[in-house]
């Protein structure tokens, strides 16, 4: 029964179901909802009239757990949110706590962190491209993308022992020194990667059917993108030139030059082009960073027991999915008083209803794909 304190919403006219309007329930077990997302589609024939996302199937209460763990103990939980881009989650959390402490990672740690985060961005975009193309019916790109992603995961495994939920960083810097041959592996991956992205483009970009399935689908204007708080490739696809790595540089991004790709009319095709271009830019960053990794310590002197002075901080980084923000409140004890994580996937998903109206069922799948959501991050 509804919460008594909430007045029944007056303006919601109880819509008598139109004669031919049907509710199609997509998910939570559906091959292309990228996780346990349930979408209630109101259909008129095959055209989507309205939609409602039901989420929470993967809610693990990460923020509640944070209040019962010390700062260092909570770090591995962060990887389990956006499990496709665990490294950048870790970077965001570690930098937020470092800000809380008023400490800072040494230059060498910051450069290695940048390299690993950019590699993770490429891996996340590769995974997105493979599954997105698969949903629209192109079977082959998936295997090319996973082949490249495998190389990156090998580098992660060699560096910190894990491939997916890596827990690669520690508050204050890095746990492990880079293994010898780290630079060689990164260069070995990045050198041919540009040609690889050309292969994907050859398969898809000039493909008539791919254009027919992505141009003009799921249009999100720049004004709406900002109003709906979209971030990352979703907002850049609509033409807003905003990237936290440039606006508020963190780690070692201020030392490297790279462009921010943007689309024109904010449809699925523009977001696809933006993400492809971002992969190329990440490769450029990695190559520049690997060229000169400064020597020096990899861990700041912040001691074993972290007791940040009371207060709060909001630190946001540019995760592959968008702006990943950490709002941490400290009460001076060793355990954070409150950790709030701004999930880019959840907030990008809000624009889903506006983007999907007027399209057909087949487009719903393309639109879910273009938002690049991961349900671990949406439900936390």
């Amino acid at each position: 029964m509804a919460d008594p304190r909430i007045p029944a919403p007056a303006n919601v006219e109880t819509t008598v179901l139109g004669a031919d309007e049907i509710i199609l329930n997509m998910g939570p077990q559906h091959p292309s909802t990228h996780g346990v997302l349930r979408v209630k589609l109101r259909l008129d024939g095959e055209k989507v009239v309205g939609s409602e996302c039901v989420i929470g199937y993967l809610h693990r209460g990460v923020e509640k757990i944070a209040e019962h763990r010390t700062y260092t103990q909570f770090a591995p939980y962060v990887d389990r949110m956006d499990y496709v881009a665990a490294v950048s989650n870790g970077l965001g959390y570690c930098e937020a706590v470092e800000k809380l402490l008023g400490a800072e990672a040494p230059p060498r740690a910051r450069v290695v962190r940048t390299i690993l985060t950019e590699l993770q961005r490429i891996a996340s975009h590769l995974f997105w491209l493979g599954t997105h193309a698969l949903d629209i019916g192109a079977l082959t790109p998936l295997f090319y993308c996973l082949r490249e992603r495998e190389e990156i995961l090998k580098i992660f495994e060699h560096y910190c022992g894990a491939r997916l939920t890596t827990h690669a960083f520690r508050i204050g810097g890095l746990q492990y020194e880079t293994y010898d041959g780290f630079e060689r592996d990164v260069v070995q991956f990045c050198e041919p990667f540009d040609k690889r992205v050309d292969d994907y483009e050859a398969l898809l970009t000039s493909n008539r059917i791919w254009l027919a399935r992505t141009k003009g689908i799921g249009v999100l204007s720049a004004k709406d993108a900002i109003d709906y708080g979209a971030s990352g490739p979703v907002i850049r696809g609509s033409g807003v030139k905003w990237d936290i790595r440039k606006a508020m540089p963190y780690a070692a991004y201020s030392d490297y030059e790279f462009e921010i790709p943007t689309g024109e009319n904010g449809d699925t095709f523009d977001r696809y082009m933006v993400r492809l271009e971002e992969m190329r830019q990440s490769r450029k960053i990695c190559l520049q960073a690997v060229a000169k990794i400064p020597a020096g310590p990899i861990m700041a002197r912040i001691g074993k027991v972290l007791k940040p002075p009371p207060g709060e901080v909001y630190h946001a980084i540019e995760a592959p999915k968008g702006e990943l923000g950490y709002y941490i409140v400290s009460d001076g004890t060793t355990q954070p008083y409150r950790v709030r994580i701004r999930p880019p996937s959840l907030i990008n998903l809000e624009a889903f209803d506006k983007m999907v109206r007027g399209h057909l069922i087949a487009d719903v799948v393309a639109i879910i794909g273009t938002l690049d959501i991961v349900l671990g991050e949406v439900d936390r």
Binding site: A2, E67, H68, G102, I226, D227, E350
Partner: protein, 225 residues
């Protein structure tokens, strides 16, 4: 604080107000520890001073710059306090005026992007909840944090009309804290099932408790670890 300095703070940390070198031990303003904490969360109450083993970071300091002046001139006493903590501006505003302040921030101060809306539960305080809005201005590349102190019974005016992204964020705050947002188009739980009893992120909601009735009825298992 190398990377922070590039982070353009409102009025780039007013000259002279630069927090002195963090050498001296931070005054122990631990709000939570204080018995009957005064309104200001950071009032220095003599709690056990944290061991200065960790380098004591910057402590919250009152903030006064053109931005706060413009807000104060427009809303006068509705702006209760202005702080800067770790180089980030915080405005504590009155609950009633939140809608107007939000619209003012969007229209005149061009904070066109609501990065995040959340809440913090300080059970020992009389106005128990902090509703926190993290704003960001694309044009000025600045962040601003609005805070509202609320008791569980009071309803917070919804800012969904100002920034559409607040819709789900407010639903999640209601779901986790039980704070009512009046004027919200469709306020119901976002993550937990609709019939769930209790608000998990409240401090008094222990980590092991579950809505055993709901679990037994829907999942058919005798819950509890």
């Amino acid at each position: 604080m190398a990377n922070d300095s590039e982070e353009k703070q409102p009025a780039a940390t007013p000259p002279g107000e630069k927090p002195e070198a963090p050498a001296h031990p931070a005054s122990p303003p631990a709000a939570a520890a204080g018995a009957t904490p005064p309104a200001k969360p950071a009032a220095p109450v003599a709690a056990v001073p944290p061991k200065p083993a960790a380098p004591a970071g910057p402590k919250p300091a009152p903030l006064d710059n053109e931005l706060t002046k413009r807000y104060k001139s427009k809303f006068g006493d509705a702006i209760l306090e202005t702080w800067t903590d770790r180089n980030q501006a915080i405005l504590v505003v009155a609950r009633q005026k939140l809608a107007q302040i939000a619209r003012f921030s969007l229209k005149d101060e061009e904070f066109d992007y609501l990065a995040d809306l959340t809440a913090v539960d300080w059970p020992r305080r009389e106005k128990r909840f902090d509703v926190v809005l993290n704003l960001y201005s694309m044009k000025k590349n600045q962040r601003l944090r609005l805070k509202v102190h609320v008791t569980p019974e009071e309803a917070v005016p919804s800012v969904t009309a100002v920034w559409s992204t607040a819709n789900w964020l407010e639903r999640e705050v209601y779901d986790m804290f039980g704070i009512i947002f009046e004027g919200h188009p469709d306020l119901k739980r976002l993550l937990l099932p609709e019939e769930w009893q209790g608000y998990p992120l409240r401090k008094d909601y222990d980590i092991l408790t579950q809505d055993t009735a709901w679990v037994r009825e829907n999942l058919g298992i005798e819950s509890g670890q």
